[in-house]
């Protein structure tokens, strides 16, 4: 009799514990969702704030950056460094930067440009390797008598955010033989693939990950998420 009561009591307490645990998990989920919501709102606020402040200041900054890049390009082309040609170059570069200063750096993302260039240079050999392997595959498809092609159009949503990384990914896909980017529509890539193998290669998402790494996307977001969750856990532990 006592044993049955004891078992019942134990069952009851376990059920209570389970329920409490479920509630705690729910609470945690809501908390995480709430923080991410507020964070996105804050980010949007910050973005509008930055972009409104940018108009006045970054117009001039863009002008200077464009001027420096274009003047370097001029020196590279001209190769004459006497006063006459350099002053010609100065005037020409000034006119062009005045006309087109809003084109070259239209939307600057958060991210260190030096790191991006460094990572882009590292990305190049990998892309070259991909192009060579895909070339061999397409040559095999073209030369084999059965011609085992399987043309297909695949669509996938990308996790990349900025237009420059979309364009880099799209051009990398097009450069790789066997796949062609047909369109990007609101973050959805429409890609034509020549065979199942190249489609599968693209489906693994390695190229996308590497492009995201090059343009410093995703990594800063995930770190921020982890920090947020850690803070919530700390609050809860203190409350308990």
């Amino acid at each position: 009799m006592e044993v049955t009561l004891l078992i019942q009591a134990a069952d009851e307490s376990f059920r209570l514990l389970e329920k409490a645990r479920g509630q705690a998990v729910d609470l945690l989920n809501t908390a995480v969702k709430l923080t991410s919501d507020t964070r996105s709102v804050e980010e949007r606020k910050l973005q509008t704030f930055l972009s409104s402040g940018q108009d006045a200041k970054s117009g001039f900054q863009n002008f200077i950056a464009t001027f420096v890049m274009l003047f370097a390009f001029w020196a590279l082309l001209s190769g004459k460094f006497d006063l006459f040609h350099l002053s010609l170059g100065f005037i020409c570069t000034f006119v062009i930067s005045y006309l087109s200063h809003d084109l070259l750096f239209a939307n600057v993302r958060v991210g260190d440009i030096r790191v991006i260039i460094q990572r882009f240079i590292i990305y190049m050999p990998w892309l070259m390797y991909q192009i060579i392997t895909a070339n061999v595959h397409v040559a095999y498809l073209a030369l084999s008598p059965k011609m085992p092609i399987d043309p297909q159009v695949m669509r996938f949503k990308t996790k990349l955010e900025s237009d420059i990384s979309w364009v880099t990914l799209a051009n990398s896909i097009t450069l790789t033989p066997g796949t062609i980017t047909m369109d990007i529509h609101e973050g959805e890539f429409v890609v034509h693939a020549l065979s199942q193998k190249v489609a599968d290669d693209l489906d693994t998402g390695e190229m996308e990950d590497r492009v995201a790494h090059v343009f410093m996307e995703a990594d800063h977001i995930y770190i921020q998420d982890v920090l947020d969750v850690a803070r919530i856990f700390g609050e809860m532990r203190r409350a308990a």
Partner: protein, 152 residues
Amino acid sequence: MIFRKDDIIVNTISRILIPFIQLYALYVIMHGHYSPGGGFQGGVILGASMVLLLLTRGYDEAKYKFPEQIATLFSSVGVLIYAGIGLLCLFVLGNFLDYGKLAALLNVTPSHARSLGILGVEIGVGFAVMSVMYSIFLDISTGGVLPEDEEE
């Protein structure tokens, strides 16, 4: 009719390329007197970059950067620069476009004056060709009726 199509690849690539195309065009114009190229070629490249801007960014932004009135003005100014330098040579008792005679006026050696004179003429040709290319494209693509004319 010109309208903006939001193809992100073309937009981004042309956004990055247009300043370099324009600077390259000016390089071709400015170095025309001792390397391949010159006023006409450079002007065509510059006009092509304007056309690319018009195609990718739409009429409104191209109008903001380079209005059609300015294009008309520039095409006349280019011819004026060309003819003006030619007539200037007539006034200092030379032939038409006889740059060597400008040496006294510019206070430099005749060979240097020739080089500068050719440069001036090429700048004029570049101006004229660029704006004429642009207005021809604008006229063909709009059928001679600009969007702002239609609104009235």
